[in-house]
Symmetry: C2
Subunit: 301 residues, 2 copies
């Protein structure tokens, strides 16, 4: 899994800070998560091969998370896209985007499929043979979801040396790869686990922006490898969290700690602070393995 | 009049080329003309004091001319704007923008007034004591207007030396400023023109993007000081003009020539060409006083 941050600042786009968007590369997919204004320019700037994006996940319908979507969809059309594009986001997103396209008489010449979300509990919204995507209901000023990306375990790998040692007939190798035990010529059973190796460890990534401090998400994101959690404010501005329904760096770290995640990435920074290093300094006092997102930064997960 | 180009490239925004937007500063106004995605970032980049923008003119509802509008309107809200904002654009613009704001539960806390346009003939859409703005109906794939900005002449200036020479009583000075003739003590009339000076020459600016070659606009833009006319293509791609309803640099120059304008500024360049200098080279063969727009470039008109 590789995560590239295209934008991780809150509210308005500025010359050197971009609103939320990121791409997650995993198992042959290039998932786009949120799409603030200017996302298509950021995709070009960081040389993301964005024709590979087939699935876009929108957390909520505030401008800094989706005003770049009509433009990206239009650009796909201008670039001659033919593959279907799936957009997952809050109810209303279909009407808004299609109205913009209709006004410009700019219908896509590819299939544009909206998956509108309105559930207040976590639901599975995407699944294929290698990965699942589930929603993480968040508490913000408008209906908002985070997204949990979980790789599925690959099949166990046949250990040929073990199979030969135990004199398992080659005709059984296919069945063993699919989970069957081995049977020696005399009928003795050799357990599958003794004939196969563990597949590579699966990875998981949870994206949680924007939200107030909310422990209800803990069971959903429990033990994920990497958690991206918003930290719009520092504790010195904690009094703004109630009204704006945002979190502080310390609160993000607290969620990371009680969820026992492997790593925390902080983002959605207010631009009121002189340096984003302050967010890390605050978070590591609670959760040492905290890192900072920044526009253009990539993480190997 | 001062014109600042924020973006002058066609179709999709890229790392170093921006879609159409420009600001015209005249008579205390800062008019924004078109608002492609990323316009608010360009406004910041070129240090335009954009809280001074009270009137936005949108030519048509293709993405590269208006997808930056919801973001700019939202940013005005975040910056605490209180003054009303007037938006002039094709019918449908109000529904589209308000839907985007509604979805984000982000109503403006200032008055947002839409002036929807649907006339196919030129109409006066803004007027105050110093300037008028009229539409220039263009021929594009969707309903499109250019905009003609014309300063009104200032009052004639009293020539005090002349008034003293002709021994005109001071009590008449106010009336003379307002156009009255002077009357000497013996009743002799001195013509107003001999007692006053011409006011500064008024300026006019015509913005025409996007459009195919269309001589119907000539009577409207006749003799303007500066014409911005789209030149998406060079003559080598003239065969694309019919389908896309765009113009070449040579066609733009032809319109400038028969309209007897003072200066032509070319823009809306397709990014397919290695250099925009090619547009100027083509245009000056027909209309010598042709110049190139470019992102960030300012013109004193």
């Amino acid at each position: 899994m590789k995560l590239t941050i295209l934008g991780c600042y809150s509210a308005t786009p500025r010359a050197f800070t971009n609103p939320t968007a990121q791409v997650l590369e995993t198992k042959g997919h290039l998932f786009l998560i949120d799409c603030g204004e200017g996302t298509q320019v950021q995709l070009r700037k960081y040389k993301v091969r964005f024709s590979r994006i087939n699935h876009i996940f929108i957390s909520h319908l505030h401008g800094d998370h989706f005003f770049g979507l009509p433009g990206l969809i239009s650009t796909f059309r201008l670039l001659g896209r033919e593959k279907p594009l799936h957009v997952y986001g809050p109810k209303g997103i279909k009407e808004a985007v299609t109205l913009f396209l209709k006004l410009g008489d700019s219908w896509t010449n590819y299939l544009l499929i909206f998956h509108e979300l309105e559930s207040k509990t976590s639901e599975l919204i995407f699944e294929d043979e290698s990965i699942t995507v589930e929603t993480i209901p968040l508490q913000h000023r408008v209906y908002t979801n985070g997204f949990l990306f979980k790789e599925k375990p690959a099949p166990r790998k046949l250990n040929i040396q073990a199979a030969e040692k135990w004199e398992i007939p080659r005709t059984q190798y296919g069945a063993i790869k699919n989970g069957a035990d081995g049977i020696q010529e005399d009928g003795t059973i050799i357990r599958n686990v003794d004939l196969t190796e563990d597949p590579p460890k699966t990875k998981s990534y949870a994206f949680c922006s924007d939200t107030k401090y909310n422990e209800e998400i803990v069971p959903i994101i429990q033990s994920v490898d990497t958690l991206y959690h918003e930290s719009t404010f520092l504790e010195s501005e904690a009094h703004l969290c109630d009204k704006t329904k945002h979190a502080t760096a310390k609160q993000a770290a607290q969620i990371a700690k009680i969820s026992k995640v492997g790593r925390l990435i902080l983002g959605h920074f207010s631009t009121r602070y002189p340096s984003i290093e302050l967010f890390k300094e605050e978070a590591i006092t609670v959760f040492p393995n905290s890192e900072l997102a920044d526009d253009g930064k990539s993480f190997e997960l």
